[in-house]
């Protein structure tokens, strides 16, 4: 039997981050990953001979600076990638810099209004950001530092005056549609806000609290630029590879192709894991960087956790709504009206708030959208190794595609794929003729490929009732769990999903702060 200070379950980017920081604190760390490759949803896959996908996470927009530093990411790279909001008329709006610091294709007045709204939202997101980079406070047992964060947030608000404080409290739980209507007139910009606020979340733009999704997006930064984004694999190196290199550099022992059968626990304390091979590994701390439902419903004996706790875990809402499309193309597609240079950024199909809302409506009843919205990248433009020379890959996150499709995905998938391709054809005429291969992953496929319950990349809905002290559930919101010695480090923990590394970083900090068993 081998003994480690810490065992990390799951080699996604949060598992790798947790392992890296634990190893850098001088601990002997083992990371086990069920798949043969590391990276989780940032893990690429071949979907046709010669054509590869960068993975589910085709855009990185919220990598934490401390995590980025640990990854020694090359900082000398270009500008943030632009976002092109495609219009059927070919008159697109293009946001440049950090979430539209500069906008092309809209009137001067509208640009001014967007600037005002952007400033307001970024300011408010900055207030929220204080809470994202630390453990959620423990209600009833608030530490001094928690009060400091709260006081800091309060002061940050007051510095801007009473009016801003009031506005913050007014807007916090609003829906994104009303907010957009309040400031903007241009349907393309409103549609973009509506799309970004609801991407990966089971809410429509008119659902209460949908603005939270946009705040979450704007708490992200890349290379010090708030709201900026980078297309995955830009520079020819995937995020997964960077996380993996950092872990190896920190001295983490990594075992891939090593599924975990169960977590060993006795009388409220976790002491190790048993692999599917039967091998037992012991550690003072077990850090689970997989979905909380997998951790507690699949790997943990129900006899070792409380009824109420297991019930709460079982009740986490975690049904994905996003399908992932990968296309192998003979040539780089043309999107009339979009500059060639902008094709290496993000392209968004969302015509209006109504379009996003109407795309969401059927999802409530277990149906997919007949007129879906989506964000598109052409990853091979940033990393030519993803396609044969002259060829191109297209990656798209398409909404809404509910996990539990009423008629089942076996029947629904071909119909949905047809709709998605027809939609693309409208914005890129001729694209259909250049298709070499199509790969469409429904949430059910994503669940299977990534061992991700519900196919939900946030590991649980990112909504008001599943945030902060209630993420993933109250009794495990501080990375430690009722099972002493077992910690959570996945996107299911605070602050949530996206390639940020924060759940992994904060979980590692929690482990480091505790006395070793």
């Amino acid at each position: 039997m081998t003994s480690f200070d810490a065992i990390v379950i799951g080699g996604g980017h949060n598992g790798l981050t947790a392992a890296t920081f634990l190893a850098r604190s001088g601990r002997k760390v083992l990371l086990v990953e069920a798949n043969d490759a590391l990276g989780g949803v940032a893990r690429g896959y071949d979907f046709h001979p010669g054509f590869s996908s960068p993975g589910l996470a085709h855009i990185v927009n919220r990598l934490d600076p401390e995590v980025a530093a640990a990854l020694s990411l090359d900082d000398r790279r270009s500008e943030p990638a632009p976002t092109v909001v495609l219009s059927p008329t070919g008159r697109h709006a293009v946001l440049r810099g950090g979430y539209g610091e500069v906008i092309d294709g809209v009137s001067q007045e509208e640009a001014k209004r967007f600037k005002e709204l952007r400033g307001k939202l970024v300011f408010q997101a900055t207030i929220l950001k204080r809470f994202l980079r630390r453990r959620p406070p423990e209600i009833g047992e608030m530490a001094l530092a928690d009060f400091a964060t709260l006081a800091g947030a309060g002061l940050g608000l007051l510095r801007k005056g009473r009016e801003e404080s009031r506005d913050f409290l007014r807007m916090l739980l609003m829906n994104v549609a009303d907010t957009a209507d309040e400031y903007l007139t241009d349907d393309r910009l409103k549609a973009l806000l509506a799309f970004d606020a609801t991407l990966g979340i089971h809410l429509g733009p008119r659902s209460p609290t949908s603005l939270l999704g946009l705040y979450y997006r704007l708490t992200g930064e890349m290379r010090g630029v708030t709201g900026a984004q980078v297309v995955a694999n830009s520079g020819g190196r995937s995020a997964a590879a960077a996380f993996e290199a950092a872990a190896i550099h920190a001295g983490v022992t990594i075992r891939t192709g090593t599924p975990v059968a169960r977590i060993i626990a006795d009388r409220g304390r976790a002491t190790g894991i048993v692999l599917s091979s039967g091998e037992t590994l012991e550690a003072g701390a077990v850090v689970s960087a997989i979905h909380p439902k997998s951790t507690f419903l699949s790997l943990t004996d129900p006899a070792e956790i409380g009824t109420g706790f297991r019930r709460a875990i079982g009740n986490i809402r975690s049904r994905g709504n996003v399908a992932k499309l990968d296309l192998a193309l003979e040539r780089v597609p043309e999107f009339p009206g979009a500059a060639a240079a902008d094709l290496s950024g993000r392209l968004v199909i969302a015509r209006s708030v109504d379009h996003v809302e109407e795309a969401f409506n059927p999802a409530k009843y277990g149906q997919f959208s007949n007129d879906p919205v989506m964000e598109i990248t052409l990853p091979s433009l940033s990393d030519p190794s993803l396609a044969p020379s002259g060829g191109c890959t297209l990656s798209a996150l398409v909404e809404f595609a509910p996990y539990a499709l009423a008629d089942g995905w076996e029947k629904g998938k071909p119909a949905f794929q047809k709709i998605v391709l027809e939609t693309l054809e409208r914005y890129a005429p001729g694209l259909g003729d250049s298709i070499v291969a199509v790969s469409l992953l429904t949430p059910a496929d994503i669940e299977e490929r990534y061992n991700l319950p519900g196919g939900h990349w946030h590991h649980g809905e990112l909504q008001a009732d599943q945030l902060l002290v209630n993420r993933p559930v109250n009794a495990a919101s501080g990375y430690a769990t009722p099972l002493r010695g077992l910690y959570l480090a996945s996107a299911g923990s605070h602050p949530g999903g996206g390639i940020s590394g924060l759940p992994g970083l904060l979980a590692a900090r929690k482990v480091i702060s505790e006395k070793r068993a």
Binding site: A265, D266, R267, G268, L297, D301, P302, A303, E304, I305, G306, T307, G308, F309, R310, R311, G314, A475, P482, R484
Partner: protein, 407 residues
């Protein structure tokens, strides 16, 4: 035949025609009832008294008493994981509960707050019956997730009657339950009755020699008649709850939602109780596998954060102190009496009370109770000295004598 939708719906809601249910023994109880004094026990019509509470009490202590316990909530837990399941659910170690044995236990939520107490019967290796005061099906079913067990509520299907008192064994013997003399306290066995069986356990809620009999509801009346006929020579009486309540106080037993508030019934956060706060600390087993509430219970012990304590009191005088406030030095309010009687057997004025620690734990002297005795529309306020005493208040050798006495 097609039935109109409304008619179908109405047919499925027949239970609303009988808002208060009658137990399988009701026909016999109603025929015997002289006081016609009924109350609702978990939705069933149950007697406060049958003919005279005083005499009914003395039937328990001097001859034999028959008390209908059918309204007691009964769950059947069966399956390969039944023992593991119950070990996680309840405080005591179920692995130590032998086949054909019964133990008293309690169960808690994740925070260590007591949900209920009750008795667990091991009917088979993988077959248990859990009896309690309150209903818990959602909790039991949620607890079953991940275990190979089946949970069924059988309160309606299984009739149960308690036969308690010094001649109770003699009654069973006369009724022809051969081999019942072999039952030791907390042991159970099945006996033939008509074309079925009756499960008899040597258990009870009186602190006396006594048995509890469980039978299919359809055989309830025939079982009653069998016992009643056998009991004629042994002073067998049917009794109501008021008499039983006196006996249980003497025995020092607590009643959920009378002596403590169960976690699911508590509306106020400070009303919930850890086992150690209601005298059930002895059920908590640190060596057994994990169970619901384990961490919270041991953390409270470690941190010394237990807030309450349940104790037995002996109070001067002979006025029962039910509902009385307990004072320290006659001034500081430190607790409440939840059950009290003048004990005819102990010839003492006894009470069960809950105090706020450290009163009752570290500070145990100079305790007083303030009794409001209503005397013809005028309260007579009595400040009486109280002394903490051990429970049970009454201990009877015949309860555990082997073989049981005939008298």
């Amino acid at each position: 035949m097609m039935m109109h939708l409304t008619a179908l719906r109405r047919a499925a809601q027949g239970h609303i025609q009988t808002p208060r249910l009658e137990t399988p023994f009701h026909a016999r109880l109603a025929a015997l009832s002289e006081t016609n004094d009924w109350y609702s026990w978990a939705g069933y019509k149950a007697p406060h008294s049958i003919f005279d509470t005083e005499l009914e009490y003395f039937a328990i202590r001097s001859t034999a008493a028959l008390f209908d316990i059918s309204p007691m909530v009964k769950y059947r837990i069966r399956g390969a994981d039944a023992e593991r399941y119950l070990n996680r659910l309840t405080l005591r170690n179920v692995a130590k509960l032998g086949l054909g044995r019964v133990h008293y236990t309690a169960w808690c939520d994740d925070h260590g707050h007591v949900l209920d107490d009750g008795t667990l019967f091991r009917l088979g290796l993988n077959d248990f019956r859990l009896c309690c005061q309150e209903r818990h099906l959602p909790w039991l079913v949620d607890s079953a997730a991940g275990f190979a067990v089946e949970i069924a509520e059988e309160t309606d299907e299984i009739a149960a009657v308690a036969l308690q008192g010094p001649t109770s064994f003699a009654v069973l013997e006369a009724a022809g339950f051969a081999g019942v003399e072999a039952l030791k306290p907390f042991q159970l066995s099945a006996f033939p009755h008509l074309d079925g069986t009756v499960t008899i356990s040597r258990t009870g809620f009186t602190g006396d020699l006594g048995y509890e009999l469980f039978v299919d509801a359809k055989h309830a009346l025939s079982l009653w008649d069998r016992l009643w006929a056998a009991g004629t020579g042994f002073g067998l009486k049917a009794i109501g709850y008021d008499a039983l309540n006196r006996a249980r106080i003497e025995a020092g037993f607590i009643v959920a939602n009378a002596d403590f508030i169960t976690a699911e019934a508590a509306l106020r956060a400070d009303r919930e109780r850890l086992p150690d706060e209601i005298g059930l600390d002895w059920l908590v087993d640190a060596e057994k596998p994990y169970f619901n509430g384990r961490d919270a219970i041991f953390r409270a012990r470690e941190k010394n954060s237990l807030k309450h304590i349940l104790i037995g009191l002996e109070i001067e005088g002979n006025i029962p102190a039910e509902g009385a406030i307990v004072y320290h030095r006659g001034k500081k309010e430190v607790g409440l009496v939840t059950a009290a009687i003048w004990s005819p057997l102990a010839k003492r004025n006894i009470a069960i009370a809950t105090l706020s620690r450290p009163y009752g734990s570290r500070i145990v002297d100079d305790l007083w109770v303030e009794i409001y005795a209503l005397r013809e529309l005028q309260y007579q306020k009595l400040m009486k000295r109280a002394r903490i005493v051990a429970r049970p208040f009454v201990k009877l050798d015949r309860r555990s004598a082997n073989p049981p006495g005939r008298f």
